[in-house]
């Protein structure tokens, strides 16, 4: 089995690739449209703003093959890789991929806790719905986050996390799983999660 990791130039894909390789996976970097064909599962690690990411993917003519792959292959979106699945984001004028219905919003400090933004560091992940990718992972474990924007409403929520407000820290629909946290930077528990993705059968 071959895992593809999407490289659109701005994201730190290397830590994701390294973590997957440390678990014994064969990893290919997907940076041209033709490379989607040879891979069995797809990981989209995102970093930076949604606008520049979508623009870059457009320039690379990667949008259509990416949408095709998202329809048919096990897909893991990480951080911006979760946000880009939505229709839109307050962060940019560019539209998202529209695979998940809804919008991404800036983190709201609803209780005026004088929160530092970005939400950067270790926070607890509350399991709302059972999912294979969380098998062997206890409820309310710490995962590592770095982001300023969130999804707060979707029917696909798997876990939630609180920072200023409650937000969607991971979601799933059929062959798609996406996390706002960085499993590749979440130590042992993060590696367990990635191992579950590697073993995930749809």
């Amino acid at each position: 089995m071959r895992l593809g990791v999407i490289d659109y130039g701005a994201s730190n894909i290397h830590s994701v690739a390294r973590a997957l390789q440390s678990l014994g996976s064969k990893v290919s970097i997907v940076d041209t449209p033709d490379k989607f064909k040879s891979i069995d599962k797809l990981v989209f690690p995102g970093q930076g703003s949604m606008g520049s990411c979508v623009k870059k993917l457009n320039e690379m003519e990667m949008i259509n093959p990416l949408l095709e792959a998202i329809k048919s292959k096990p897909f893991l979106g990480i951080c911006l890789g979760l946000q880009i699945l939505f229709n839109s984001s307050e962060e940019s004028k560019e539209k998202g991929l529209g695979v998940i219905y809804g919008g991404i919003t800036k983190i709201k400090d609803i209780n005026n806790e004088n929160l530092k933004i970005p939400h950067m560091g270790w926070n607890k992940v509350k399991i709302e719905k059972k999912h294979e990718l969380f098998s062997g992972i206890k409820n309310k474990q710490f995962f590592y986050f770095v982001h300023s924007f969130v999804a707060t409403e979707t029917e696909s929520t798997v876990t939630t996390t609180s920072y200023g407000e409650e937000f969607v820290s991971s979601l799933a629909t059929e062959n798609i799983f996406a996390t706002q946290f960085h499993p590749e930077k979440s130590g042992e528990i993060g590696l367990k999660f990635l191992e579950n993705f590697i073993n995930w059968k749809i």
């Binding site: 730190n12 290397h14 830590s15 390294r18 973590a19 390789q21 440390s22 970093q47 930076g48 806790e113 530092k116 933004i117 970005p118 939400h119 950067m120 560091g121 270790w122 926070n123 607890k124 710490f142 590592y144 770095v146 609180s162 920072y163 590749e184 930077k185 979440s186 130590g187 993060g190 590696l191």
Partner: protein, 252 residues
């Protein structure tokens, strides 16, 4: 719900080996960096920091090899600092496996570097490191690993760094570094009250109570220490237990 207080063991590295000095002097060898990083990860470190203490004068290739070696074995956030002068340096370190870079002297010589790096790679991966020494009521900023005094006020410089796009401030108290007499909590409190980005406190950890006080009195978001963890004087777990006992959130 707030974030867990981060405990960050720091590896001071020179020529591919961990070293540790007192008050920025008297350097002694303290082992292999990737072995130390793995041990810290297993012990529950929330991040790993590696500072190449005189990278400005040395070949970069050793540093890059060390970064790659640590990044392929440790899967928690990893910050690298020392001798970073340009966007090319930053890109090289990020590509080698660093998640964040810590910039000190170069940021003072060229503040645009912070702004450009933050725009290019995001604020989350730009740490502004400051070495400061108290002088009466203010703290002065020093460059070149504590060798050269500047006229900059450390609090003002940190605020400027935040405005330029730094994502975190790593403040080392030169008065306290290596002395094991406790953190300069006044400095950290002053910083925390003036900033909206996280403050990492560094320099002076000797006892468990010092670390707890830096969070309690200094309002530090993260604690960085080298020798107490390296020589196993205090375990990371003990620090976290002590913080939890005081009501602070930790990842245990």
């Amino acid at each position: 719900m707030s974030l867990a207080v981060r405990i960050i063991p720091c590896l001071d590295v020179r020529g591919g080996r961990v070293v540790k000095g007192i008050n920025f002097k008297d350097i002694v060898d303290a082992g292999d960096p990737s072995e130390a990083a793995k041990r810290y990860d297993a012990e529950g470190a929330d991040e790993i920091c590696m500072l190449d203490i005189d990278a400005s004068f040395e070949e970069r290739s050793t540093t890059i090899e060390t970064v790659k070696s640590i990044a392929s074995q440790v899967f928690i956030p990893f910050t690298v600092g020392g001798g970073i002068k340009s966007l090319e340096d930053i890109e090289m370190l990020l590509k080698s496996g660093a998640d964040k870079v810590s910039i000190n002297t170069s940021a003072i010589l060229n503040p645009d570097l912070i702004e450009e790096a933050s725009k290019e790679y995001g604020a989350q991966c730009i740490v502004l490191a400051i070495d400061a020494k108290q002088d009466g009521k203010i703290w002065n900023v020093y460059t070149h690993g504590g060798k050269n005094r500047t006229d900059l006020d450390a609090i003002e410089w940190a605020k400027k760094g935040q405005d330029l796009g730094a994502g975190e401030i790593l403040m080392t108290s030169m008065d306290k570094d290596g002395t094991k007499s406790g953190f300069d909590n006044n400095l950290y409190l002053e910083l925390s009250n003036n900033l909206s980005i996280p403050v990492i406190a560094s320099g002076g950890a000797g006892e468990l109570s010092h670390l707890v006080d830096a969070v309690k009195l200094g309002k530090a978001d993260a604690l960085l220490a080298a020798s107490i963890f390296h020589y196993e004087e205090i375990s990371i777990k003990k620090v976290k237990q002590a913080l939890r006992a005081e009501g602070f959130g930790v990842r245990l």
